[in-house]
Subunit: 112 residues, 4 copies
């Protein structure tokens, strides 16, 4: 029942938007060198979040496994973003950590 996972879908897309935004803003930062890892992870995280949301909406039998992997990536990306003071990084860290939590709870839900 994808309806019970609407908050996870919503968190995935919010995280994708925050990661895209963070990558674009990082690329305009003066001290770009420090942002390498952040940009790398933002690109990956945005795309796995979009696929996870799609798999939940499609009621895929692979949604749980994908969401588990998505949660790992979100956590890594969120931890990297959290190190930087820029507002786009702080917002992204928050969106990533929320998405990681939603994905974990989705992946462990009964009766999917």
């Amino acid at each position: 029942m994808p309806e019970q996972f609407n908050s996870c879908i919503e968190a995935c897309y919010a995280c994708a938007a925050a990661c895209d935004r963070c990558a674009a803003c990082c690329l305009q930062e003066e001290d770009l060198a420090m942002m390498r890892q952040c940009i790398r992870l933002d690109i990956q995280c945005a795309n796995i979040c979009r696929l996870s949301a799609q798999f939940i909406s499609l009621d895929s039998e692979f949604a749980r496994q994908l969401c588990n992997l998505c949660a790992e990536l979100c956590e890594k990306c969120g931890n990297e973003c959290a190190k930087h003071q820029a507002e786009h990084c702080q917002l992204c860290a928050k969106a990533c950590h929320r998405c990681a939590q939603e994905c974990r709870s989705m992946a462990s839900a009964a009766g999917v």
Copy 2:
């Protein structure tokens, strides 16, 4: 400034979720033959909506053109869905028409 386009990003992702959901539900309908065109358009619409949202978030100089094309596809998909009584089709039609409108207004906004 992507921030002024948050409602467009949000409409794109809501439309993608509704289209994915509609395609999955159509594939379980008893009268499947009638749903061919609906499923075809749902698949395309979900994916162009996700790319449009990404391009807006990235502040891409191609976001307007992509959103214009997205609006066309959303409109076609929404019109097809509107013909069917199933709840997933009616919800999808609504999400498509809202997204078409947001994408058009995004594409014609000044100073992007």
Copy 3:
């Protein structure tokens, strides 16, 4: 070194193309009801293949785990397609099984 995985990237994109094509052709089959599961899996498989190829190209530390999941989905999709006589299904089954094999060998390669 993504270069050593060029054949995996190529197999992922070939599989995505075969799945998209198969889904589109299935939607035009006269006996559509029999194709429900095939279409469902084609849609999912095409999209996880594209993300796997992207993660390998990006040299992502999550590429192996994603490729493992991709291999599972490819195998399930290929087995379903193999049941149907239509040429698009037979071609898709072949592309899926080849991609599953490439993804497994990528995931178990040393020194990634």
Copy 4:
């Protein structure tokens, strides 16, 4: 008939792979500041190429319009990459220009 467009599909995916690779390698360059625009365009180009390939495979009535836009982005990305001496940039420039050409010829083909 998507079969007549196999070379365009193949060029789109080859371009996506080259752009992803170029972005990842740019992010490891010592003189990162000079690569800002290259990375920005690589990210966008890889993703529109994947969607264009998908739309052609799906035999979408929107494939031509999307391929036209894809050609524009490929050209811009290829021109930017061509300015840099790194091998990944030179390879990417070549893949982008080839894809632009294939997309233009696809978009202007009769009887799609």
